[in-house]
Chain length 115, copies 2
DNA sequence: CATCGATATTGACAGACGTCGATGTATGCC
DNA sequence: GGCATACATCGACGTCTGTCAATATCGATG
């Protein structure tokens, strides 16, 4: 069975302001926005994106929060499963990188609604 | 006391990819994204934005959903309080209009993370 | 003023979500 | 092999969220 990644699901939508979003499309897009719609995850994403090389090790991220390690790990998983962060294991460390295509297609979808 | 609207709170942020988002900024932005992060609300917003004149009466919106009237009213309230929809009462009817500034500042915030 | 129609508010409930401590898994090192 | 370190998973807990039925509010109309 063919499954679209969340990113692909967003990229193929016509602007919100041209024709009403179908229920199916809305149900594919909402999870990506839901992944973004948390203060901790927003900061995590921002930390990764602003880190040198555009990637960051989990060990670099936890210090910025007053949260347990499992909680940070949970949030990173949510962002990863939504297609907003890419994951790469290097030795003992895990590096996350933000996905420009995911972010820009989300941004396009939203900005089209503005006009 | 001076309170920023959600829209103003987003508009004044530097790109996510230049410097990490502060906790305060993240906590102001997240509610707007949370308002957007629901399939029903995404469709409502899209219905309003794509409606002729860029505005729609509540009576035009309910039919597209298999949901009760109070539920639709609730979602519209969430979108309105997040600054994503403007509300105007005309006689017995209430018209909602999408807020271009809100959407475009959100889009800018997200798209900056992509680069 | 009584009534009707359009929308909002309230209260209740089930399910989803964020968080933690405890535990599991895997890699590197002695 | 044995141990330490980095990260993930699990199970439990309180809180938040989407939904509905019932009720309230507000404007128009007779």
């Amino acid at each position: 069975m063919l499954t679209l990644t969340p990113v692909e699901a967003v990229a193929c939508c016509s602007p919100l302001s041209r024709e009403p979003l179908s229920q199916e499309a809305a149900e594919r897009i909402a999870p990506m926005l839901k992944a973004l719609a948390d203060p901790v995850r927003l900061r995590l994403l921002s930390l990764v994106a602003s880190h040198e090389g555009g990637e960051a090790c989990v060990c670099d991220l936890g210090d910025a929060f007053d949260l347990s390690q499992p909680t940070i790990s949970h949030h990173l998983k949510v962002l990863h499963e939504a297609g907003l962060l890419e994951r790469e294991k290097r030795g003992v460390w895990v590096y996350y990188r933000s996905s420009p295509t995911a972010m820009s297609s989300l941004a396009t979808l939203i900005s089209d609604t503005a006009s």
